[in-house]
Amino acid sequence: MEISKEHLLWMYEKMKMSRLFEERMQAAYMEGKQPVFNIGSGPVPGEMHLSNGQEPAAVGICVHLKKEDTVTAPHRPHHHAIAKNVDLNKMTAEIFGKKTGLGKGKGGHMHLFDPEVKFSCGGIVAAGIPHAVGAALAAKKKGKDWVAVSFIGEGAANAGAFHESLNLASLWHLPLIVVIEDNSWGISVPKSESTCVPSNDVRAAAYGIKGYLVKDNDPFEMYKVSKEAVERARKGGGPSIIEIETYRFLGHFQGDPELYRDKEEVPSLLKKDPINRVMNFMIEKNLSSKIDFEKIDARIAAEINNAYQFAMESELPHPEEALEDVFV
């Protein structure tokens, strides 16, 4: 399949934006946590799950999505949010706990809600899948060709919510796509010790639907199978499962000592950086030049800088605002 230059560039940009956003976040998170790490300290406290390396999963499918399509993401949500065009300023501000954040500082990094672009995420493994089923049901009820994509980790494919949701979505022929990011790990537990099948695409058989397996974090293949799955869903062809073998460059959360994984693993993964892969492909195919990419990178860096600036300069909420917004 040919991927248009426009789409390739879009994927590159979103991947790069996610990566730069997270590199900056990594630093911001460590502020106030040195020399002694304390999870509750600094401008960005609490848990922090970064997605460096997993970008292809997000961009390969979101490139096919519209604003009206729904995305639900798990505890590791930044790459999805960025690929779904979540407001970067408000998202950053939320993670800094500011009043200008998506949730006025109430949600935080694991609970980002941007109804403008129909994005949400949450901290409970697999819990976002039913929400996507509901969005898909709403699309069907409205007679729209909108789809719902639910991103989960490979660990989440063993949770009951996965099964119930896929059965329901298949039964009702809903436009749901579950993307399983297999980064080999559920915190410290390797996939081989959590999932009884080598890859979760085979579980599609349990729901009479189509399952895809994307190997080796391939952004192009992810693009391809996602296109097929999204198109089928839009046409009323029902749900799909896409599993992508991806890479977790960092710890489960920041501060994770990672004693459970081989010291060789990350360096070898880093060699296969998917962002470079797209860039190199485009340069090889003469679709863009090094210079083009430098310009793009600079623009993205500026955008991210703005977002962080906005977040840092924004006001903290007033303490008493904690009592507001329980109900609308």
Binding site: H111, A127, P130, H131, G134, N167
Partner: protein, 340 residues
């Protein structure tokens, strides 16, 4: 309320379905999902006749996948629908509590008020007919404890209708607990309280108000659903002993209508709370604590609590009847409060 003249005598079930029917006619964003809510009309008559009227697109039977379909109600509500979703027995909440309390209840807050979830979660509560430990609970407090949910448990058909309409119109998740015995179903105990006058017209009642169902001066008895009914009966017994009981029907499990309760205790000076739920951390605890902290000066005697004594609900009738409060136990307890 005064202007609503045309009333019918309806069962709790009919009052509930009438409210849903009127709301569904008014607003096509409302739909119903749940196990056996379609052709069967709800195991406890919560949707009788609605599939026939509105079709299977708006009254949807689901698989036994509570996490998926109650979670789907959240996703659909975020998209502008107003789902009514049924958890068949409240006893099953444990398979889906995460969706209810971590998501349905918190998304509005976590989104800073940017996402609204107008969902009514209906669920059948209550025992007394030997359905044993996994099908007889009320679990009022399990829902009342957790923030982000409005929780109502109406008793009489009039309140059932008005509160259901209000629950549907509310833009927040409302847990609507209906008591099996108060549905007035043909195959359960027939009790007068499950049958009563209900205006045909549409009306709503506040979700957060308790109601003084009977005035009195010697003791305040707070109950909810079947315990309100039992308290009213107990008041008759007490009448014989020249004790005048004021009966409050809690209706709203969360938030609790402090004002109505405290005002009553200011008048009577004595408080007895009765609950079909488990004693510890239940309604008797919360109401007692409210009065002991905010209405303390009015208390002339220790507060008395009557509830299931922290045991699973046993099957055998003699055992179940032993753990459930009833009008006689209430009358006894009230006398003790007054005479000791």
């Amino acid at each position: 309320m005064e202007t609503l003249t045309k009333t019918k005598k309806l069962t709790g079930s009919k009052a509930m379905t009438l409210a849903i029917e009127q709301e569904m006619e008014r607003d096509d964003k409302i739909f119903i999902m749940g196990e056996d809510v379609g052709t069967y009309g709800g195991i406890f008559g919560s949707s009788t006749g609605l599939k026939e009227k509105f079709g299977s697109d708006r009254v949807m039977d689901t698989p036994i996948s509570e996490t998926a379909f109650i979670g789907a109600a959240i996703g659909a509500a975020a998209e502008g629908f107003r789902p009514i979703v049924e958890l068949m027995f409240v006893d099953f909440h444990g398979v889906v509590m995460d969706q209810i309390y971590n998501h349905m209840a918190k998304i509005t807050y976590m989104s800073g008020g940017n996402v609204k979830l107008p969902i009514v979660l209906t669920t059948a509560v209550g025992g007394g007919y030997s359905d044993a430990a996994q099908h007889s609970q009320t679990l009022y407090a399990s829902f009342g404890h957790l923030p982000g949910l409005k929780v109502v448990a109406p008793t009489y058909p009039f309140d059932i209708k008005g509160l259901m309409a209000a629950a549907i119109r509310d833009d927040n998740p409302v847990v609507f607990m209906f008591h099996k015995t108060l549905q007035g179903l043909g195959w359960m105990d027939q009790i007068p309280a499950s049958f009563g006058p209900v205006p045909e017209e549409e009306y709503t009642l506040p979700l957060n108000k308790a109601k003084v169902v009977q005035e009195g001066s010697d003791i305040t008895i707070v109950g909810v659903q079947m315990m309100t009914v039992a308290a009213v009966k107990a008041a008759e017994i007490l009448d014989g002993s020249a004790i005048s009981a004021e009966i409050i029907d809690l209706i709203s499990v969360k938030p609790i209508d402090k004002e109505t309760i405290i005002n009553s205790v200011k008048k009577t000076g004595r408080l007895l709370i009765v609950d079909e739920d488990y004693m510890s951390y239940g309604i008797t605890a919360e109401v007692a604590a409210i009065v002991a902290s905010e209405g303390f000066a009015a208390l002339k005697a220790p507060i008395c609590r009557l509830a299931n004594p922290d045991v699973p609900i046993p099957y055998s009738r003699v055992l179940e009847q032993y753990v459930l409060p009833n009008s006689h136990k209430i009358a006894e307890a009230a006398k003790k409060v007054i005479y000791s």
